[in-house]
């Protein structure tokens, strides 16, 4: 069993890395990019019986800092 966790900076929190990527894309001639936000993808290999609630707890306690980040979980 696997889970995929997406962690993104919350809306309104400045993402300087995303901004730098946007600038670079613009400089390369990709002129249709209006914004870039950069995040993390964390894949978890889970033992049988693990639940989405377990992964939520992991996100709340460690994988995301909910002061600045939001997360979403895909169980696959």
């Amino acid at each position: 069993m696997k889970a995929r966790v997406h962690v993104m900076l919350k809306n309104g929190v400045l993402d300087p890395q995303g901004e730098a990527v946007r600038h670079a894309l613009g400089a390369m001639g990709f002129d249709k990019v209006e914004g870039v936000r950069q995040g993390k993808v964390i894949d978890l290999d889970l033992a049988a019986g693990a639940t989405e609630a377990d992964v939520t707890e992991m996100c709340e306690k460690l994988l995301a800092n909910t002061v600045i980040e939001s997360y979403s979980i895909e169980m696959v």
Binding site: L14, P16, L62, N65, V67, I68
Partner: protein
């Protein structure tokens, strides 16, 4: 007076912090991250700068979950004194002892130079050795020093006079120029600049000594 300095894998300002405490008159013990208790009778805990656990995941995130950090949280919750500098500040925010978080510098560059800080409050044992409005030169050395908190939290910090230091010329994008903050009971200070690197004539400046000197007057609470 007893101080404990926490050492994580990747800490690199632990000995500088220990020397600053010693010069202020403390007996200092170094505490390993796997320890789950602080030495008996510790008056203040120092969480040093560095790159604990390689800054993996987020700065301070993994350190905040280490056994010793639970002891630091308990110490703070009992009303104990603590100071977190640089990575130590990041760790204290990750534990929830201090509000907010530290983001990547707005300019994306690691910055290592001495900056001017304004002393915003003298109402704490860390800052009572200064005069409000003093401008002091303290080194910074960080890549993730961009303090962030939501508008409500920043307003509360200001209303409660909990901004200890602010940048005169904001180097990293920190909200409201904040360089260091105090806990609600004013006994925990977190700051990105390094007062322990401006605590000896050999450092080229001693503007940071007052942070440690005033601490020797504190009453043992732990």
């Amino acid at each position: 007076m007893k101080a404990a300095v926490v050492v994580f894998p990747g800490s690199n300002c632990d000995r500088d912090l220990a020397v600053a405490f010693e010069q202020a008159g403390f007996d200092v013990s170094m505490v390993w991250h796997k320890d789950s208790v602080l030495p008996e009778g510790v008056d203040i805990v120092g969480v040093p700068g560095g790159f604990s656990y390689g800054d993996y995941l987020r700065c301070g995130a993994i350190a905040a979950q280490s056994p010793i950090c639970q002891a630091v949280v308990d110490h703070a919750n009992r009303g104990g004194y603590a100071i977190g500098i640089c990575n130590g500040f990041q760790i204290l925010t990750e534990t929830g002892i201090l509000p907010g978080a530290l983001l990547r510098n707005a300019g994306l560059k690691y910055i290592c130079r001495t900056v001017d800080l304004k002393v915003e409050t003298t109402n704490s044992v860390f800052t009572e050795g200064y005069t409000a409005g003093d401008v002091i030169g303290i080194p910074i050395a960080h890549h993730d020093g961009n303090y962030y908190a939501d508008a409500e939290t920043v307003a509360a910090l200001k209303d409660q006079d909990r901004v200890a230091f602010s940048y005169v010329d904001n180097p990293n994008g920190s909200v409201a120029d904040i360089a260091g903050i105090l806990s609600e009971n004013r006994r925990v200070l977190g700051m990105m600049p390094h007062p322990e690197r401006a605590a000896d004539q050999g450092h080229g400046g001693t503007d940071g000594t007052a942070v440690f000197r005033a601490l020797t007057g504190i009453v043992a609470t732990a």
